[in-house]
């Protein structure tokens, strides 16, 4: 994929993903009655002292609303294709602040992958700025994102393939039964051991083979076109909508970095 198209798509998809996440954070201002910053702040190391003081101002009350509003604006800017060093730095800092607000992660892996994309954007902007070579900056940033996203599939696939409960298909039924939209109906096809094993093998092998995307651009296209189906199913059964968008934002990087 051409660098210009890859960067434009990457910015738009990252902006869209951040927009959806921020809209959810705004809604959580009224939905969440369990989180309590006075309790959570005790988990933050007491030294250096300024950290807790800064967090007190930006992860609760009007400061938090301002942080989310700023993030919403930055998401819209990315969506429209506008980016600068200042925006990349501000986006990175706001992402780190949100980690503290949500005890390290609000939604696990999707937060991790979003941070990977935001860090990739920061690398692209800083490298481009200090070397006066935006192309080099983008290449560095997109490769950073690519290494992480391909590693995520590779590890996620092989760590399952190495476990007997996944190879036999038993784990698939267990996790789908435990899903937020579960349990599976009594007559679900996933309860047939052979089918559960077949489904488990198909997507874990697919994940484990994801690094092949880097070897040939045609394989990269195949992987990046099938990946949304995989993530949609994860959303459908487990409710992980943020994963869908967070990973989707990284595919332009993979398509750019694929060899050949």
């Amino acid at each position: 994929m051409d660098l210009q198209i890859a960067t434009r798509l990457f910015l738009a998809l990252l902006g869209w993903s951040l927009l959806l996440q921020t809209a959810e954070f705004f809604r959580l201002l009224t939905l969440d009655r369990v989180g309590s910053w006075p309790i959570q702040r005790e988990e933050v190391p007491s030294r250096p002292v300024w950290v807790r003081s800064v967090l007190d101002h930006v992860v609760q009350g009007p400061g938090y609303v301002a942080l989310l509003t700023l993030r919403l604006g930055m998401a819209l800017a990315l969506l429209s294709g506008w980016v600068s060093v200042g925006l990349a730095v501000a986006l990175f800092v706001s992402s780190v602040l949100l980690l503290f607000r949500w005890r390290g992660a609000f939604n696990g892996g999707s937060d991790f992958m979003t941070l990977v994309s935001v860090t990739g954007l920061l690398i692209a902007q800083l490298t481009g700025h200090f070397t006066d070579n935006p192309t080099l900056g983008w290449r560095a940033g997109l490769w950073y994102v690519t290494v992480y996203v391909v590693s995520s599939y590779f590890v996620s696939g092989w760590v399952k393939l190495l476990r007997p409960e996944w190879r036999h298909g038993h784990a698939l039924t267990v996790f789908l039964d435990g899903g937020v939209y579960g349990p599976l109906p009594a007559g679900s096809l996933y309860r047939h051991p052979a089918l559960a094993a077949g489904v488990s093998w198909s997507f874990t092998v697919w994940e484990g083979c994801f690094p092949l995307a880097l070897v040939d651009v045609r394989i990269a296209w195949f992987m990046c076109c099938t990946a949304p189906v995989f993530h949609y199913l994860v959303y459908w059964y487990l409710g992980l909508n943020r994963f869908f968008w967070a990973w989707l934002a990284t595919y332009p990087a993979v398509l750019y970095c694929a060899l050949g």
Partner: protein, 177 residues
């Protein structure tokens, strides 16, 4: 094969080798908050005991039964785009997981009630017994009378098993406004 392809191959070979042996888990307060910078990408990989939160309430001197607080919500078409209630519910189960992990790490004889996760789980149990909701879905599956006191338990349970191992039972606590 050019150098880039060789480096890619070497990287993933090394990554695979790291999956074959279990490494020591490095922990620390900063690492806890900044763990997103060091993702391990091991999603849903092992089937084992899962910590579950149970609550009960006391109304007019009578205790209700124990009810599980576990995220179960109906799917809606727009959840792909906007899903705050489900994500909040999942974050609450994550909190229960962290609480179980904190309890395991607690030295013998230490007071669990001083843990931030204990106090947050107390708030979760309180909200559940008070009939709070994840969006439109009640945190516990039944409607209870207004209770004056409540209690919660953390149990370790295997999926598809009736066996349950009690990890912690809270003292009886008064509800608050």
């Amino acid at each position: 094969m050019d150098l880039t392809a060789v480096l890619i191959l070497a990287y993933f070979a090394l990554l695979f080798i790291t999956l074959l042996w279990s490494s020591k888990v490095i922990q620390g307060p900063w690492l806890f908050f900044l763990r997103a910078f060091f993702p391990n990408w091991k999603f849903f990989h092992a089937v084992g005991h899962v910590p579950h939160l149970y609550v009960r309430g006391q109304a007019a001197g009578e205790w209700t039964g124990w009810y599980q607080v576990y995220p179960r919500l109906p799917r809606r078409w727009h959840h792909l785009f906007h899903n705050p209630a489900v994500n909040l519910a999942l974050s609450h189960q994550n909190l229960v997981d962290h609480f179980a992990s904190d309890l395991n790490a607690l030295p013998d004889g230490a007071d669990a009630s001083q843990l931030p996760t204990y106090r947050l789980v107390t708030r979760l149990a309180h909200q559940a017994i008070q009939g709070d909701r994840w969006g439109d879905t009640p945190m516990i599956a039944v409607t209870l009378p207004r209770v004056e006191r409540f209690q919660f338990e953390l149990r370790m349970e295997l999926p598809a098993s009736t066996r349950s191992e009690l990890m912690l039972q809270s003292p009886v606590l008064a509800v608050w406004d």
